[in-house]
Symmetry: C2
Subunit: 208 residues, 2 copies
DNA sequence: TCCAGAGTTGAATCCTGGTTCAGGTTTCAG
DNA sequence: CTGAAACCTGAACCAGGATTCAACTCTGGA
């Protein structure tokens, strides 16, 4: 899908490319893998096709990755980073946490709509690389919880159970992303974000 | 895992058992499949092992299902039904919709904690049988939306975007189920449900 | 310029596991 | 009782696809 800016700060292993040519090939393979897995899913996706998409021989694939699962893991880490890098700035730019929530959801839905394949990869990691999946969501949730608690310190949100709130809001966003991002992109993201924002801010209780 | 009460109202196909013996075997296979897929996941799970768990020959499996995917689909439909049958009564028994939301989440978390494998099956269906997965969530969401709208009619909740709300709340529950049901069952379900209830009812806005 | 190491190549190997099938055995309506 | 339909059995077949490997070509530092 999208070209991977830097194949992440991959802590040099034996398979880390040492020359310019190598780095270029690695990037090619990583992008090809994202396309392949995004389109066919992990189990339907094949190394042969990844190599083909990357215009590289099968053997070259194994110069950079130990196995099919290894690329997949590398990909998950990469996607995870990309999503955050895209969304976080919007949250930070907002005047307060609740406005940030809304801006963040908008940005997230945008990202999902333009990267449907990547979305699938992260989701599928739950069954291919549970630990990577868990790490992704636990990271996000913890960031969320901290951020909310700080907002509480500034009087922007009420007191409450930060962990539960973080997971709840995260789940909300993920499902809205699935429904209104991946499956159905007819409605404008702003509209969805606004409705969700209203729900998160005031809840369902009838107006007093 | 749990014995399947009735292999659902399977609309008689060519593979539908015609004798008592047949029905019994089908149930055996279905339950064995639930165990196998629950424990190993779809791709790791094998027909041979399913047959073994059911104490049945591989060939018998194919007497009742056309393929590996076919059992899996049958299973998803069955689980989907089971979850709803377990949770809905709690919601209906509650005095009002918001209390029902809380009771429903409690019941859901309970169910998840005692059926972790089944939970996994539904989730994995997203990649094995997208349509079945979609159907499951769309059904639940629609039920939710309708229910909320009726509650609005009774003055129990404020007005709003029913679809967005339904998907948001559903996502919330699913993620809370994942985090506090499957991954971490240390905290009492009531506590989680209470916190979530507070969030859904009043939102995050600071107390006026 | 030179060459050791870094990269590249793709046919061949290997293995897993879904699916088939050719015979039995059991059930049950008539 | 009886035979046709239902069921059961599990070894054998086979396709798909991950991984290996031995021979070859670039790259870049000295």
């Amino acid at each position: 899908m999208t070209a991977t800016p830097q194949p992440s700060e991959a802590l040099a292993t034996a398979k880390t490319p040492r020359t310019e040519r190598g780095r270029k090939t690695l990037r090619l393979i990583l992008d090809a893998a994202a396309e392949e897995f995004g389109a066919r899913g992990y189990h339907e996706g094949s190394i042969a096709r990844i190599a083909q998409r990357a215009s590289v021989a099968i053997g070259s694939f194994y110069t950079y990755f130990d196995s099919k699962e290894a690329v997949f893991r590398a990909l998950v880490a990469d996607m995870s980073r990309q999503v955050r890098e895209h969304v976080v700035p919007f949250i930070l730019a907002a005047p307060d946490r609740l406005a940030g929530e809304r801006a963040g959801l908008s940005a997230y839905l945008d990202f999902v709509r333009t990267h449907k394949a990547l979305y699938r990869i992260i989701d599928e990691s739950a069954f291919v690389a549970e630990d990577a999946y868990r790490r992704h969501y636990v990271d996000v949730a913890d960031g969320y919880a901290t951020s909310l608690e700080q907002a509480f310190g500034r009087g922007e949100v009420s007191d409450g159970d930060w962990q539960v709130r973080a997971w709840a809001i995260m789940g909300m966003n993920v499902f809205l992303g699935l429904k209104f991002g991946v499956w159905d992109d007819a409605r404008p993201v702003e509209e969805i974000a606004a409705a969700a924002h209203a729900l998160i801010t005031n809840g369902l209780a009838p107006r007093a």
